[in-house]
Amino acid sequence: MSDPLNLVFGALADPSRRQVIGYLSTRGTATATELTGELPMTRQAVAKHLATLADAGLVEGERQGRETRYKLTRAGTEWDDRLDALRRHLQRR
């Protein structure tokens, strides 16, 4: 199961994990605690689902104090910052 596509399909095959993705898509970011309050799952189940989604590269977590805050992986967001920097560069001249 180390094939990246197997990980992705495996992660998306589960309806609960798709719910987690749907929630993150609406809210932007969430911690495991917040997700537990919103979805009909135990905290343990939420944590496990988040780990599976992260292994598949579909979500990414950022440590915040004692908790990890998760968001959907969005390729290309770095280009928004870079193009913004390019625009400012051109305006300076």
Binding site: V8, L12, G57, L58, A75, L83, R92
Partner: protein
């Protein structure tokens, strides 16, 4: 593949310089830039946080198009077009590992 478009308030010539001259790239893209602007030429980008990336130029069309391939993974292409407000710059980046995963993520979202 990701695709970004931006209209920049500068003529194509000016945008081209900002994309291809190392000293100008050092003002917006990376802290230290080396670029050999010809197909097969090498490029190095270093950032102040210690990150370093290398690339190989694959396509140069003067003031029109610049494409390079990251040595770690993926390709980036810049395309420049005239626009009434200046220059329309299109950036396309493809990366074999994340593109399929994110396409599937988007499909899953459409089904939630």
């Amino acid at each position: 593949m990701i695709r970004k478009e931006i209209v920049l308030p500068a003529p194509r010539e000016e945008v081209w310089e900002a994309l291809t001259e190392p000293e100008r790239l050092e003002d917006w893209f990376a802290n230290d830039v080396e670029l050999d602007l010809r197909p097969g030429g090498g490029a190095s980008f270093r950032w102040s946080n210690g990150e370093e990336r290398h690339a190989t130029v694959i396509d140069v069309e003067y003031e029109r198009r610049l494409a390079f391939e990251w040595d770690d993974e993926g390709e980036v292409a810049f395309t420049l077009d005239d626009d009434v407000d200046g220059t329309r710059l299109t950036v396309e980046e493809s990366s074999p590992t994340w593109s399929t995963a994110l396409d599937l993520q988007a499909s899953a979202l459409a089904l939630v």
